[in-house]
């Protein structure tokens, strides 16, 4: 098991898709609305070596109740500017598109956190602050201190993409099983 601590640097370049890691330190949540706001107004935190977490937590009275990952693919077209600014890792679920795989190349990694595991994630997190609170609970940028968050390297900095490999195998399986024209519905 590899233990990562923020701010991240070139150590992320050594990771390979499928590696199990833990991450400790400061992470910033961002979903669709926060990405759009940051593209317009700028990134409110120091992006060099930073980690962006695709998450809209449940927060009550300044306390993180639960905080699992959201579907990263919604941010496929909104991610390039973060990597250009020096963000070294994205955390989310479900993987990201080919354009993001290219943007990460030589610079950053995508780390998969088990979807739905919001109680487990929050047990390893502490809420430290917030930007863009007017966007609402789900869409604000929450500043979180993470302690050994368990993650899998989904996309590495060399084009290695666990999700794409699985998708391609699934496609082959699908066409082998449903090859008859009679069954074709789309």
């Amino acid at each position: 098991m590899i233990n990562l601590t923020t701010p991240l640097g070139d150590e992320v370049l050594d990771l390979r898709a499928g590696d199990r890691v833990t991450l400790s330190g400061t992470i910033y949540t961002a979903r669709d609305e926060a990405h759009l706001r940051m593209m317009e107004e700028g990134i409110p935190f120091a992006p060099e070596g930073a980690v962006v977490y695709h998450c809209g937590p449940v927060v009550q009275e300044g306390r993180l109740v639960v905080a699992g990952p959201t579907t990263s693919a919604r941010m496929n077209a909104l991610t390039g500017f973060l990597i250009d600014a020096g963000v070294r890792a994205l955390i989310g679920k479900g993987g990201m598109g080919p354009e993001v795989v290219e943007q990460l190349r030589g610079r950053a990694v995508y780390l998969a956190l088990t979807g739905g595991c919001a109680a487990l994630a929050a047990a390893r997190m502490r809420l430290c602050g917030v930007y863009f609170e007017d966007l609402g609970m789900a869409e604000a940028v929450w500043v979180i201190e993470a302690d050994h968050l368990p993650l899998t390297v989904g996309i590495d900095a060399h084009g290695g993409d666990l999700f794409r490999a699985v998708r391609e195998k699934a496609k082959t399986q699908f066409h082998q099983r449903f090859n008859s024209k009679q069954d074709s519905v789309s």
């Binding site: 499928g18 199990r20 609305e33 998450c55 809209g56 937590p57 449940v58 009550q60 109740v65 639960v66 905080a67 699992g68 959201t70 579907t71 693919a73 679920k93 479900g94 993987g95 998969a112 088990t114 979807g115 739905g116 595991c117 919001a118 109680a119 487990l120 929050a122 047990a123 609402g136 609970m137 789900a138 368990p150 899998t152 989904g154 666990l162 999700f163 490999a165 699985v166 998708r167 195998k169 699934a170 496609k171 399986q173 699908f174 099983r177 449903f178 009679q182 069954d183 074709s184 519905v185 789309s186």
Partner: protein, 279 residues
């Protein structure tokens, strides 16, 4: 679960029951779903998949222990009511359910997820135009069933207006839905499949199928489930044997020229609970 309402008026009793049902559903996974996950974890062969399933089981235990929601996407409220013959079907019934949703949002707490579809303005309390979605059917008892629905899996759902000659293509349509979805809907999933009816009722059937116990499948459901699992998408799209825990089918008769099919994708956190209101 049964609840004797603190508030004896009908809307008050429904608000109590809705709040109780949401708390139960959000915090404690139904035992049939938990058992299906445990069975999957016991037979899964892929190493990463085994680790994902172990994390899921740990999370379920932790949510119950800490009395917090299983997932931060606490969903939008989908509610099914059964009304006995002596209860009048009036607007106050809907007001009671709405009040229960508001209270649950503040107390459990739930993430406010309900927004205007265009301006994206959040209503703040998980109610709004057409929210909660409430479905009413006649019954012997007054019951409130909730199915809070997260967006990751809802967004991967699909409707197809197939041709009458394409009945044998239904398993293909369902498997294709998961091929397109990949890891986005948080597999292992449960697939609610509606077959027949009309464009609108087939989607309702698919969602109602998610209320059925997942621990039994008929031969047709098993055939579809096997086809989905053969894709090897695995937990969270990271690969493995476990892509679907269960497939449940509900049917209605349809037009001789139509074959509507709907697939409502549900993540592993198939949260549902029923509360009976004792009067």
């Amino acid at each position: 679960m049964m609840v004797h309402p603190a508030d004896s008026t009908l809307p008050g009793a429904l608000a109590d029951a809705t709040e109780r049902a949401l708390a139960e559903a959000e915090i404690r996974l139904p035992r049939d779903v938990l058992a299906a996950l445990e069975r999957a974890a016991a037979v899964e062969r892929d190493e990463i998949a085994r680790s994902e399933l172990a994390t899921i089981l740990e999370n379920i235990a932790l949510a119950e222990e800490r009395q917090v929601p299983i997932c931060q996407d606490t969903g939008v409220p989908v509610v099914y009511l059964t009304l006995p013959p002596d209860i009048p079907f009036t607007p106050s019934i809907f007001e009671g359910v709405r009040e229960g949703v508001r209270r649950a949002t503040a107390r459990i707490p739930l993430r406010p997820n309900v927004v205007d579809p265009i301006t994206r303005r959040n209503t703040g309390d998980n109610t709004g135009v057409g929210m909660p979605a409430v479905h009413v059917t006649p019954g012997d008892r007054l019951t409130v069933t909730v199915l809070p629905k997260g967006a990751g899996s809802e967004n991967a759902s699909r409707i197809g207006m197939l041709l009458p000659s394409q009945a044998s293509g239904i398993p293909r349509f369902v498997a294709e839905t998961m091929l397109i979805a990949g890891g986005r809907p948080c597999p292992p999933v449960i697939l609610g499949v509606g077959i027949g009816g009309t464009f609108d009722t087939v989607a309702a059937l698919a969602k109602e199928a998610l209320l059925l116990p997942v621990d039994t499948m008929d031969d047709y459901e098993q055939e579809i489930c096997d086809a989905v699992n053969a894709l090897g998408i695995g937990p969270m799209g990271l690969g493995g044997d476990t892509t679907a825990l269960s497939v449940k089918v509900k049917r209605a008769d349809c037009h001789t020229a139509s074959l509507p099919v709907a697939v409502n994708v549900q993540c592993w956190a198939c949260r549902r609970a029923t509360v009976e209101v004792r009067r």
